[in-house]
């Protein structure tokens, strides 16, 4: 079994990266690997609660993050600094996460066999 870390660092709707990464995570979860997921930089916006994409004409896919638990993806992290820089708090997020200091994020990256950054 490999330990795979997905790093989400882009905002949700400017590009297709966030949605594609989420699809890849759900797919990877079928292969019984150990999957972790971390949100940093603008990636933290993906977890912002109460998203409304009507004027963008794009589907709001943020509710799909709530399905991660059903897909056995339970190790979900957010970098503290990324939240702070954007004036976000853990209560603003759509799912429960573990907050990491930057040094802890560095450790997390080192502990994984495969890093996929989106």
């Amino acid at each position: 079994m490999k330990k795979i870390l997905f790093i989400q660092r882009r905002s949700p709707y400017g590009t297709g990266f966030a949605k594609e990464a989420l699809d890849a995570i759900l797919m990877a979860s079928a292969f019984e690997q150990e999957i972790s997921l971390v949100f940093t930089d603008d990636g933290v916006w993906q977890l912002k609660n109460q998203q409304d994409t009507k004027t963008l004409g794009i589907k709001n896919f943020s509710p799909t993050f709530k399905a991660l638990e059903l897909y056995e993806v339970k190790q979900i992290y957010v970098e503290q600094m990324a939240l702070e820089q954007r004036g976000l708090q853990i209560e603003d997020l759509i799912i429960p996460v573990t907050v990491l200091a930057t040094a802890e994020l560095r450790q997390l990256i080192q502990q994984h066999d495969v890093i996929l950054s989106f």
């Binding site: 079928a30 709001n60 509710p63 799909t64 709530k66 399905a67 059903l70 897909y71």
Partner: protein
């Protein structure tokens, strides 16, 4: 462009029969789609269809089969929480056919 006719309504679908406009779905549309698939809907089918629609409403995706099976197992017990049961209800592919009848998008992941 393909379509279904349901009580004088023209419902557009893709070539495989998935609805173009998801809000046009209702129970009569489900029955019409099922008919084109050679299925007569029973309460057992409706149980799965409602589950899929609730899941989509909550998470904006169609569940992977193993997630669907697990959820049915938790909710309805081992007799209905297994993939063989789903295949007897939806013989042309538990994921694809059930989502089509439930008026949901074609599942992108087949695992």
């Amino acid at each position: 462009m393909s379509h279904l006719v349901v009580k004088d309504r023209l419902i557009k679908t893709d070539p495989e029969g998935f609805l173009n406009n998801l809000v046009e779905w209702d129970e009569t549309v489900a029955e019409a789609i099922a008919k084109t698939e050679g299925i007569i809907l029973t309460p057992d089918h409706w149980e799965v269809i409602r589950f899929l629609r609730d899941f989509y409403q909550a998470y904006q995706i169609a569940p992977a089969i193993r997630v669907l099976v697990k959820a049915l197992l938790d909710k309805l017990g081992p007799e209905k929480g297994n993939s063989i049961y789903l295949h007897t209800l939806f013989p042309a592919g538990a994921a694809k056919q059930s989502n089509k009848i439930a008026g949901l998008p074609k599942p992108t992941r087949c695992i």
